[in-house]
Symmetry: C2
């Protein structure tokens, strides 16, 4: 059997329910992947992630390359062993981080030279290097090295897209490990013709999965939705589609409605560190608010997460005011649970062919 295969179990409109088989187990789609930037999903133990029912976890090539180093991770048996996450993993290519660095970076056709945010040392990523690092890290899904443009700059978006395509072919050529699936990334800013061109090119390479990059980076929601429609009309139905860096609940619903299968985002854990708890149906509440000081209820009535089953809003607010780490842990558990519950509900709705009603009801009730 192929190490990777995507089974499409049901479609409902453009929404899809499937299973992506990987060497470390199955990913039931649609899925949301929590982000473990530095080989740890911030403030959670791996036991918490298992208890939450997480399947796919993402980690960052840029960060792990710099610290502890991909050679060290390889020596420790790869990322799954190193962080003891025995379920599927995905690494990004490092491209997004490198292009987001505030300081020195030099881009040429061959790659990018950049300065470490840790010690200012100079490093260089090329498509080949990004693949080599990710082969050292050993995630199940690895990402092509790409360039994310400013979404409204047409000339730059075109140039970045062309570079992304050239780099994708080099990544595909450089890739050696059969137990890793390389996903190509569609770029093209907010320009339908560029997105179309990019999707056609990426789809032409016979890769086991496809990603949509350069969204949720400053464009409007309607623009994001339009790009998803353009791209997903072209990307083949028999391969999983991954919308990168998107994790707001309404974006998950809108993405699934337009044929996306996989999402990742730091949002649930980052919000938790800023005292914000996600509310199913959308919206968030600031747990530091004085109105919760005497509140005996859970973050969300009826929520089945560990946090809501065991702790009151008053206790969580106390932890925040007292600057206790446990607040970040408890809110992270709740937020990830909220997103994993949402993707499970969407999956069920698709399998039962009632996704349209589910999405409408969800988005109508959305309290952003």
């Amino acid at each position: 059997m192929e190490p990777f295969s995507f089974e499409l179990l049901a479609t409902d409109g453009s929404a899809r329910a499937g299973v992506f088989h990987t060497p470390h187990g199955d990913i039931e789609t649609p899925i949301f992947a929590p982000v473990g930037t530095q080989a740890t999903v911030k403030s959670l133990t791996q036991a918490h992630l298992l208890e939450l029912g997480a399947s796919l976890v993402l980690s960052n090539t840029y960060h792990l390359y710099l610290r502890p180093g991909d050679d060290l991770v390889a020596e420790m048996g790869g990322l799954h062993q190193f962080m003891n996450w025995q379920r599927p993993m995905l690494t990004d290519s490092g491209g997004f981080q490198v292009f987001s660095l505030p300081e020195f970076r030099k881009i040429d056709e061959d790659g990018v030279t950049f300065k470490s945010h840790i010690d200012g040392s100079i490093h260089r990523f090329t498509p080949e290097k990004a693949v080599q690092i990710q082969e050292n890290l050993g995630a199940d899904i690895i990402m092509a090295f790409d360039e994310c443009s400013s979404p409204y700059d047409r000339a730059y978006s075109q140039r970045a897209m062309q570079r992304t395509h050239a780099w994708l072919e080099r990544c595909q050529a450089a890739k050696k490990r059969p137990d890793q699936a390389l996903f190509g990334i569609v770029q093209g800013g907010i320009f339908p013709d560029l997105r179309e061109e990019s999707a056609r090119f990426v789809a032409s390479l016979g890769l086991p999965g496809h990603a949509i990059g350069g969204l949720s980076v400053g464009e409007t929601k309607p623009e994001m939705h339009a790009m998803l429609e353009v791209v997903n009309a072209i990307l083949p139905a028999e391969k999983p589609r991954y919308l990168m860096g998107v994790g707001a609940p309404e974006d998950l619903v809108n993405g699934v409605m337009r044929g996306v299968d996989i999402f990742d985002c730091v949002l649930p854990t980052r919000l938790a560190r800023h005292q914000a708890a996600m509310i199913p149906g959308g919206g968030r509440i600031n747990m530091m608010n004085a109105r919760y000081a005497h509140d005996k209820g859970p973050i969300v009535d009826g929520c089945t997460c560990y946090t809501c089953q065991n702790f009151t809003r008053a206790y969580i607010r106390h932890l925040i005011m007292a600057r206790e780490m446990l607040s970040g842990t408890l809110i992270s558990i709740h937020n990830i649970h909220t997103l994993l519950t949402l993707v499970r509900e969407m999956r069920k709705a698709i399998l039962e062919h009632r996704f349209e009603a589910f999405a409408k009801s969800y988005l109508d009730g959305y309290k952003a």
Copy 2:
């Protein structure tokens, strides 16, 4: 049945194995109590504490009085409900914290006026107030308001001891809740005659348990041991004995050897936040040490804690270098497990009448 009773199951030399029955369950002694200063054992969820098999957890009156306020905790159903720890709890009296404040404090025969470390506001604790706060908090074991002296200052130690005795009588008179056990505290610095006088006085009041304060505050180990011997020769055998603020492994062994039943200390969690892991048999290792960068072993070979069963030294060092919160959580789990394992081993050794050999072997092998 009385809400509190102490069953002495076995003695071996001066070492004792027993059970202290409380309204929230049994405490098998000897026991070590992790400290949840602000109603949370730092970096751990309550599920972690249950998994570690913790029974007694301590929390701090001074901190909870200031934030979130004992009235709020009472309104939330008391500390057990507030932090959702349904096993036995103990609160200190706030005395130690108030007397440790670097800034303004004024002591008189009636009580102490002090400045909040949070906002500089002025507050006053008296014995009656300390009891009232602890009745609001609702722990199973509450502590008398005492004054901890400088151990080598005889005049001050005597004055503080006398004040501690007067305050203990006032605490006993003020106490109303039958579901809380008030423990009196023996003081007297490093002076055997003062310790003897203090132990006799405290023992004369018919309290359900007795504590030994003012140790591990700067005196030598032989001085600490001498004081324990003087005091425990006087404190009645049929009541539990609690050595406050002591948590180094060799101190637990030396304490149990001299008749102590209960210990508490911030040491395991504080060490964890400073990257230090405890080693059974004594000693600690600095997990940040570069020698662990490539180390595939657990913190301690054969350790059965979650951390050692799942993660390598290399991974924990990486978390520390990357300033990830998970390092504090994982080392805290290991350190508390180490101390709870030690007290369980001592209990078993006492029940099997081989404590002397256990203690000798432990202390001989001690790598401080």
